[in-house]
C-alpha cells in the first residue's frame, strides 16, 4: 500500500485512484465482485431473447453445459450491418454480462458492419466491461466466438 504524505490533494500523483476524492471508486472496487458495467448487464441484461426468434439472418451457439458456459446468439442483418441481435446464455455473471455487452456493441450506432464484427475480439468486450478477473476472461472469449458462428451461419444461408 502506497502512502502519500501530502496535504495538498491537487498535487497528489495518485489522486485519480484516491477513494477519498472519488467515493464511487471505493464502492466500485470493493463492494461487488465485478465492475459496475458487469453488474448492470448481469441484473438488467440487454437484448435478451424473450420470444421465439423469427426471420433471423443467422444463429450461432458455442460452449457446453459441461464446461459451465453456453452462448446462443441470433443476428438480423440488413445491408451488411447487424441491425438486431438477441441472445441466451447459460453461465455465470461474467458470461451473461459479456453476451449482453456484446449485443450492445454490435447493434449500437446503426449497427456494426459485418467485416468489423468479424474483427471483434474478447479484449474489446473486456474493455467495455471494465475488465474481468483473469479466471473469468474465458467467458468473454465465448461471446466473440458465438458472434462469428452466427455470421458464418448467415453467410451460408445467404442466397448467392
Amino acid at each position: 500500500m502506497l502512502i502519500i504524505m501530502t496535504s495538498k490533494c491537487d498535487e497528489c500523483p495518485v489522486k485519480s485512484k484516491c477513494s477519498k476524492k472519488n467515493p464511487d471508486l471505493k464502492k466500485e472496487n470493493k463492494e461487488w465482485f465485478y465492475s459496475k458495467e458487469v453488474k448492470q448487464h448481469f441484473f438488467k441484461p440487454k437484448n435478451l431473447l424473450v420470444e421465439e426468434p423469427k426471420d433471423f439472418s443467422g444463429v450461432g451457439e458455442v460452449g457446453s453445459p459441461a464446461c459451465g458456459d453456453v452462448m446462443k446468439l441470433w443476428i438480423w442483418v440488413e445491408k451488411d450491418r447487424i441491425k438486431k441481435c438477441k441472445w441466451q446464455t447459460f453461465g455465470c455473471a461474467s458470461a451473461i454480462a459479456s453476451t449482453s455487452m456484446l449485443s450492445v456493441m454490435v447493434t449500437e450506432n446503426g449497427g456494426m458492419k459485418l467485416e468489423d464484427a468479424l474483427k471483434l475480439r474478447a479484449k474489446d468486450i473486456l474493455d467495455r466491461l471494465g475488465g474481468l478477473p483473469v479466471i473469468k476472461i474465458h467467458c468473454s472469449v465465448l461471446g466473440d466466438q458465438a458472434l462469428r458462428a452466427a455470421i458464418k451461419d448467415y453467410k451460408s444461408n445467404k442466397k448467392p
Partner: protein, 392 residues
C-alpha cells in the same frame, strides 16, 4: 452487513458467550502459557481447564487433545503424521484408505502422500454420498496404515456411519481418522465412535476462526508437522492461541448442552425448506441423503441454470449462500462431491447450498422460498440449456 446468512457450513458467528469468555485473554491474561512466571502460569491454567473441559465432553483424556490452527491443519497432521511415522521403520509401502467425498484437506494430503510412495484407495460413495462400513472392510489390506472417512459432509450434508466404520477398523487394528468439522450437532464421544484420530474446527460451532483440534488416542504415534518449542506434547509447536482455546472449549460446551434441542429445531426448518423447494422449483433435486444428513444442510441441483448467477441474484436480495459451481472455484472445476454422487458435469454447475444456523428463523426461510422460484425462472429465461436429468 445485514441480510439472511445461510452459509453456516462455511463459517458461523462467534456466540456472544464464547466471545465474553475469550475477552480477558486478549488484554489481561495475555501471557504466553509456556512462560515461567506468574502470568504465564495463569494463562496456562486457562489452557489446562479448557482442555479438561473438552476432553470430558469428548470422552477422551486431556493428554489426547492437541490444539491446531484449523481443521485443515488437524487433517494434515493426522494423515501425514501417521504416514511419516510409518516411514521411519518402513522405507516403502503403506496403504491409505479414504473416500471420494472428503474435503480437499484430506484428499489432497492423501494424493500428495501417494506421490511420496504410499498406496491409496479412494472408496466410491453411493448416490447419497454414503460410504458403507462394508466397503472399508473389503478395502483393508495387510499393509493398510490408515483409514480416513469424513463424519458429515460439508457440501451435501450426508452423515456417514462412523461408528460402524470405527468398529471395522478396531477389529482389523487399523488407525481410523474422521474429519468431524461439520459434526458439531452429532455424537462426538470418541469411545462410542471408536475413532483413533478426530478433527474438529471451532469456526463451525460458533467458536472463533483460527483454532482446530486433533484428538489423538493414546498409543497412536504421529510424526509432527512442525518443529519448534515442543508445545502440545511435541506434536504441534507454536505459541498456544489461548483466547482461541478458551473460546473453543466454551463453544463445545454450549453445543454439547444446547445441541440436542437445536438439532431438532434445525431439522424441522431444513425439511420445511427442502419440501418447499422440491415442490415449487421445477426440475430441482436434493443432493445427499434425505434423512442421514446434517440438520442444517440443504443442497440442491437445479437444472438449466448456473450456480454463480443464482448466488449473485440471491445475494442482491440479501440472501447469502453457496454453490458447487465451477465458476466460484479457483480451479474452474465443479464440486468433486457433487460429481462423486453421480450428478453430470452439465448439471453440477447448477447446484446451490443453503446451510442453516442458530440465528435462522422460519421467517428467513420463507423469504428465501418466496424469492427462489422466481429467481430460477428469470435465469431459466436467460438460459438456452434444457437438460433431461441431473444424472450422468
Amino acid at each position: 452487513m445485514s441480510g439472511i446468512y445461510l452459509d453456516y457450513c462455511a463459517g458461523t458467528y462467534v456466540d456472544p458467550r464464547v466471545k465474553k469468555a475469550m475477552d480477558k485473554y486478549f488484554t489481561e491474561e495475555f501471557a504466553n502459557p509456556n512462560s515461567f512466571h506468574g502470568m504465564g502460569l495463569e494463562a496456562n491454567k486457562a489452557v489446562v481447564k479448557s482442555r479438561e473441559k473438552m476432553a470430558k465432553i469428548l470422552g477422551a483424556k486431556s493428554t489426547e487433545l492437541v490444539f491446531t490452527g484449523c481443521g485443515t491443519e488437524s487433517c494434515n497432521m493426522a494423515i501425514k503424521g501417521v504416514a511419516f511415522e510409518y516411514r521411519k521403520t518402513n522405507s516403502k509401502g503403506g496403504h491409505i484408505i479414504t473416500s471420494n467425498i472428503e474435503h480437499h484437506a484430506i484428499l489432497d494430503a492423501c494424493r500428495w502422500l501417494e506421490g511420496q510412495g504410499f498406496e491409496l484407495t479412494i472408496l466410491k460413495s453411493d448416490k447419497y454420498g454414503l460410504i458403507k462400513a462394508e466397503q472399508v472392510k473389503k478395502a483393508i489390506r495387510k499393509d493398510t496404515i490408515l483409514v480416513t472417512i469424513m463424519y458429515a459432509n460439508n457440501e451435501i450434508g450426508t452423515v456417514n456411519p462412523v461408528r460402524e466404520i470405527g468398529k471395522v477398523c478396531r477389529e482389523r487394528k487399523v488407525t481410523f481418522h474422521t474429519d468431524a468439522c461439520q459434526a458439531g450437532l452429532l455424537e462426538l464421544n470418541v469411545e462410542k465412535l471408536k475413532v483413533d484420530l478426530m478433527t474438529l474446527n471451532a469456526s463451525k460451532i460458533y467458536g472463533p476462526k483460527g483454532i482446530g483440534l486433533l484428538y489423538v488416542r493414546t498409543g497412536v504415534k504421529l510424526t509432527p508437522l512442525f518443529h519448534g518449542g515442543g508445545q502440545e506434547y511435541g506434536l504441534r509447536s507454536g505459541t498456544l492461541n489461548v483466547p482461541g482455546i478458551v473460546g473453543f472449549a466454551k463453544a463445545l460446551e454450549l453445543i454439547y448442552k444446547e445441541g440436542g434441542k437445536e438439532a431438532k429445531r434445525l431439522t424441522k426448518l431444513r425439511d420445511y425448506l427442502i419440501t418447499d423447494v422440491l415442490k415449487n422449483v421445477p426440475r430441482s433435486y436434493l443432493n445427499g441423503h434425505s434423512t442421514k444428513r446434517l440438520p442444517k444442510n440443504a443442497n440442491f441441483t437445479i437444472l438449466d441454470i448456473e450456480g454463480e448467477s443464482l448466488l449473485l441474484r440471491l445475494n442482491e436480495e440479501g440472501i447469502f449462500c453457496s454453490t458447487g459451481s465451477a465458476c466460484t472455484s479457483a480451479q474452474l472445476e465443479p464440486s468433486h462431491v457433487i460429481l462423486a454422487i453421480g450428478i453430470s458435469k452439465q448439471a453440477a454447475h447448477g447446484t446451490i447450498r443453503f446451510t442453516l444456523g442458530k440465528s435462522t428463523t422460519k421467517k428467513d426461510i420463507d423469504k428465501l422460498l418466496k424469492l427462489l422460484p422466481k429467481t430460477v425462472e428469470d435465469l431459466r429465461k436467460i438460459s438456452p440449456v434444457r437438460l433431461k436429468s441431473p444424472w450422468r
